[in-house]
């Protein structure tokens, strides 16, 4: 199954469970306080996922390594390479 298929399956499963409990035939058997939580649940989940995404990307952005040493080391290596290649007769 494709990744899209997996998503659609998962959503359909959760969605129908939710619909059955919150709106559908099982609705009357769910105690009222639970129903009050159940009704807006999809929106809550969506918002929670959005917050999670923003927090994750934000954290990873803030902790993205700046490789200063690697850049400095590369400059050194470039210098050494140029000198050695020139010595071996390379015309740049």
């Amino acid at each position: 199954m494709t990744k899209l298929g997996q998503w659609l399956w998962g959503l359909a499963l959760l969605g129908s469970a939710w619909a059955a409990l919150a709106l559908g035939p099982l609705g009357p058997r769910v105690p009222p306080p639970c129903r009050q939580v159940l009704l807006p649940l999809p929106v809550y989940l969506l918002v929670a996922f959005g917050c999670y995404s923003l927090a994750t990307v934000g954290y990873r952005l803030a902790t993205f390594n700046d490789c200063e040493e690697a850049a400095a080391e590369l400059q050194e290596h470039i210098g050494a390479a140029r000198a050695d290649l020139r010595r071996r007769g390379l015309q740049f």
Partner: protein, 242 residues
């Protein structure tokens, strides 16, 4: 010699206008292989660069020998994906390393790739900018944000089991790369993504090594323009088809 005498690493270097970078990257490659003791060859696939890359490559053959530097040029710019296929045909090593020739990928990491490969007999070892000591140099905040955002989206949608999908610094077992090349159809960044996704589908194992990516010093990037649009298109295509 500590390194496995039976192992040979073929490095594929696609070049387009890399006259400045090619000698430097070749020098660094040769030096790091001499240090690690692995048998190697460097296959330069130049697509008729107008800046004289081919000419400087010929000088390198004179210095290092035609058994170490193999020139497999093509007449005109035909793109990266086919450059790898073209280069692979001439590779004689049991491991193949794919990397950029613009010095953003430092050859010193190849020894770590091989060490990692031996550790778990991985089919692929991928460099990653997003884990451990990995990182980038020379990127502004906007570019970092786009990179992190795109990476997050990719992880959520594809769950690929590797942290750096758009990077192109990797080591493959030769037969694994051959199999993957047959399957992959995308272009640009998406090509690198597809390689990992297909690898997962085929049950190949992937090891990861953190790398530092230093933005190119000389020359300019060839992947430009509507990069983001084609990335998203490619991502959604993979999402819907794999």
């Amino acid at each position: 010699m500590a390194a496995g005498a039976a192992d040979k690493v073929s490095v594929l270097l696609p070049t387009y206008n890399e006259r400045e970078n090619l000698p430097l990257v070749v020098w660094l490659l040769a030096r790091s292989f001499e240090t690690s003791g692995y048998n190697f060859e460097i296959i330069v696939i130049d697509d008729g660069s107008p800046d004289g890359t081919q000419e400087v490559a010929e000088q390198l053959v004179k210095i290092y020998g035609s058994d170490k530097i193999l020139l497999r040029p093509r007449a005109k710019k035909l793109g990266l994906g086919t450059a790898y296929i073209h280069g692979m045909k001439h590779a004689t090593g049991n491991f193949i390393v794919i990397m950029d020739a613009d010095l953003s990928h430092h050859p010193k990491f190849i020894a770590e790739f091989i060490r990692k490969q031996k550790e778990g007999n991985f089919d692929i070892v991928s460099g990653t900018r997003y884990k451990g000591n990995g990182g980038v140099y020379g990127w502004d905040l906007k570019r970092k944000l786009i990179s992190r955002g795109a990476n997050f989206l990719t992880q959520v949608l594809l769950r690929p089991g590797a942290s750096d999908l758009t990077g192109s610094f990797r080591l493959y077992k030769k037969e694994v790369l051959q199999k993957l090349m047959e399957k992959c159809v995308s272009k640009g960044y998406v090509f690198q993504m597809e390689m990992i996704v297909r690898a997962r589908q085929l049950g190949y194992t992937i090891g990861e090594v953190p790398i530092s990516f230093v933005d190119r010093v000389y020359g300019e990037s060839k992947l430009g323009g509507n990069e983001i649009v084609s990335f998203l298109k490619g991502l959604l295509t993979l999402f819907a088809t794999t």
